[in-house]
């Protein structure tokens, strides 16, 4: 509120000056400064980055009698969390209010509220992309040791511990969801058409290890009648602007442009120069443009739901998607139950090495699983009035028992990312055949444990970087610009954004996000 007051007062002062002077900028600025109120002290907040300064509330029943904890998160996928929060409330004496915010507005509302010191919630369920803004921006309270222990910190896969839940080496978040884009194929169709594929191409039909194999398989299945549906296509992906186009492109580009010997991907970690227009990204986009025709008609306009429904509806032989496809293949509307193969996203036959400035290759395709979106997780704003209760609730929600149940329950939005959720027995107990449960969890683990895995961008200004890139990708895929021209334009835009937000500060945050020091 204090921030608001300052804003309004200053705006009125500016307006008065604009009206009165009709614009001598120098005079107006100095006068505005004089008219503006004295800076107010920052509101009290927990010391971000100093774990342990929130006392352990213990585990006694009724320990939060009379306390109301507010949770904010994406509308439509908080029902399970509400049930669990109610259990926690009954045990602690607290009450929990869950505010659902439309998915498309969640990031904007959270950032706007925190930037203006406006209370929004004690616990925020948010996507990892906002980590740079929220944790790097100093808005969040560091997670105390006792909360980390209750969430079984060591049971969380390292890539999430260090990338999703922490920033600059400090733990802030409590676990909820683990996300990685994977490769799915119709195992039944692959088996049924193996001979025909070999006869047509001279190669054995196997799940694609490389994007070139993936393209050949897509071409074959698009040109041959294989689906029990009226139509069958070779692939389905996520190219739509403003609707997962970023994740669709980065999943492919990672194999072409993430060198195993270099931690950077989006930017040069020494200069903050964008890499998105280097030959690796450009070839990724060019190659993507050649396979779009093997998808269902109108695929350029496909987002998450169109992609998922096309695959579980039996229209596509291959799919690039998050882990949701596994549980969705078991849903009543699915026609692919028991017929799905699971694996990490394919790699590129060659990758661009930004250090040598040349194409390079290894023993096999260069794989770089992309942790697009990076998963939902829970954060506690430093300005929360009930820090202990908030962390108590967040650590309960992130506990192994709750996450295990959530992972195998449809509609929770929770994908595996912890030891408890990747336990084969858990999936078998949920009704999965053991071999399929093993294939599914192995594929996720192979992606998440991959040494060349790329975690999604966690920089302030992410929405702007994403918008510029998605625009370029969309222009190239729809034939409005060449891949090189489109990505050059996007790189210029990225530089403009970086300069506007402060290159040195962005570089510092990018390096911190990569775990680089100095």
């Amino acid at each position: 509120m204090k921030h608001h007051l300052r804003l309004w007062t200053a705006l009125f002062a500016i307006l008065a000056l604009v009206a009165a002077s009709c614009g001598d900028a120098e005079v107006a600025e100095s006068t505005t400064t004089a008219a503006a109120p004295e800076p107010e002290p920052e509101p009290e907040m927990a010391d971000p980055g100093t774990p342990g300064n929130i006392p352990d509330p213990g585990t006694a029943a009724g320990r939060f009698d009379g306390v109301e904890v507010v949770v904010a998160g994406p509308a439509g996928q908080l029902d399970y969390m509400k049930d669990k929060a109610a259990e926690w409330a009954a045990a602690t004496g607290a009450t929990v209010r869950v505010d659902e915010i439309p998915f498309g507005e969640l990031n904007d509302k959270v950032l706007a509220a925190l930037s203006t010191d406006t209370f929004i919630a004690d616990v925020i369920n948010i996507g990892s992309n906002l980590g740079g803004d929220l944790m790097g921006g100093g808005f969040m309270a560091a997670a105390p040791e006792w909360a980390q222990q209750r969430a079984d910190w060591e049971g969380i896969l390292p890539i999430f511990r260090s990338n999703q839940l922490s920033f600059g080496g400090v733990a802030y978040g409590m676990p909820w969801d683990g996300d990685v884009l994977m490769y799915y194929w119709r195992a039944d169709a692959f088996e049924a058409h193996a001979a025909a594929y070999e006869a047509a191409t001279g190669n054995a039909l196997r799940p694609a290890e490389s994007w070139s194999e993936y393209a050949a398989i897509a071409k074959f299945f698009t040109e041959n009648d294989w689906s029990e549906q009226d139509e069958g296509y070779g692939l389905v992906e996520l190219p739509m602007r403003n609707n997962q186009g970023w994740n669709g492109f980065m999943t492919r580009a990672a194999g072409y442009a993430k060198a195993p010997n270099d931690p950077g991907f989006f930017f040069d970690p020494e200069t903050m120069e964008p890499r998105i227009n280097n030959p690796g990204f450009v070839r990724a986009l060019e190659d993507w443009g050649t396979v779009i025709e093997y998808g269902p008609p109108g695929m350029l306009n496909f987002g998450w739901i169109e992609n998922a429904l096309s695959f579980v509806g039996g229209l596509a032989a291959q799919d690039i998607q998050w882990g949701d496809i596994g549980p969705m293949s078991k849903s009543p509307d699915s026609v692919v139950e028991g017929a799905v193969g699971y694996g990490p996203a394919p790699g590129a036959d060659e990758y661009w090495d930004p250090v040598t400035g040349e194409w390079a290759s290894g023993d096999g395709p260069n794989k770089a699983p992309f942790l697009g979106f990076g998963g939902w997780f829970n954060l506690v704003p430093a300005t929360s009035n009930h820090l202990a209760a908030a962390f108590d609730l967040a650590s309960f929600l992130g506990s192994p028992a709750v996450l295990a149940e959530a992972a195998v329950t449809a509609g929770t939005g929770v994908n595996p990312g912890t030891a408890a959720t990747l336990d084969v027995d858990l999936w078998v107990s949920a009704g999965w055949p053991e071999d399929e449960a093993k294939a599914y969890t192995d594929a996720i683990r192979a992606s998440l444990d991959h040494p060349n895995a790329v975690f999604d961008m966690r920089l302030p200004g992410f929405p702007e970087y994403k918008d510029a890139l998605e625009l370029a990708v969309s222009e190239a895929l729809s034939g409005q610009a060449s891949a090189q021209d489109a990505l050059d334009e996007a790189a210029d835009k990225w530089n403009e954004i970086t300069d506007r937000l402060g290159r040195d500060e962005q570089l510092r945050i990018y390096r911190e996000a990569l775990g680089l020091t100095g």
């Binding site: 705006l11 500016i14 990031n107 200004g461 729809s478």
Partner: protein, 274 residues
Amino acid sequence: MLALSIFPLVFSLGLTFTNVNLFRRVPLRFVGLENWARIFSDEALLETLVNTAIFVGGGVAIQYTLGLALAVALNQGLRGQRLMRVLFLLPMMVSPIAVGFIIGRMVFSEGFGPINDMLGALGLPAVAWVTSPAVAKWTIILVDTWQWTPLMMLLILVGLQGIPGEPMQAARVDGASEWQIFRHIVFPLLLPVSITAILIRALEAFKIIDIIRVVTGGGPGRATESVTAYVYNVGAKQGDLAYAASAAYVLLFVVIGVSFLALYVMRRVQARYE
């Protein structure tokens, strides 16, 4: 009046001279005309202005033509016209978001939509309704037309029903054809209502965003992004409220300019008939 209308306008004008960003904790600073200067080098804004002009020009022209034709047909005293009126008004009662999904994403779906199915049954090739930059613009116009033609029809129908019958009867006695009666009597008498209807619809169409967000997300590329969608992206998604306010003012100036121009042209046309 001051609180509801003028104050927000003045407040947002004030924003355009600042560096306010929703997502960054930066000290509020007076930046003079910096945001306004940025407009002149903003190719994206120009592109979205052109898109918006196409949506308004194309959409309103089609909606007026169809609305006029439907209103004339419904004014003939045919059987069942009350039911027809209700049916024609239904699209207007549906939320634009729902219309976007039902018409834009389902009916015009390139793979699974009934329109491409029908074209296929007729031996015609499928149309890239939402993935071709040129066609996608017209898809937006068609969806908008489906929803808002009833408003045109309604306003023109009211106008038609207010036209006195005597001049038309006199013309018929003098041997005028129905087309001549429409061309020289009905249409001129409808001009005030037509001007109003076109202006109301155009003012609304300038602000189009909801259908676009659902049907194409502004793509492919920026082919269907309107100024309002652009302002929303810059302000709400990127937090740059100050520049978003400046871009919104550009749209306001354009709308005011177009409104004056339209009124001027229409009055000239009306004067010719009078």
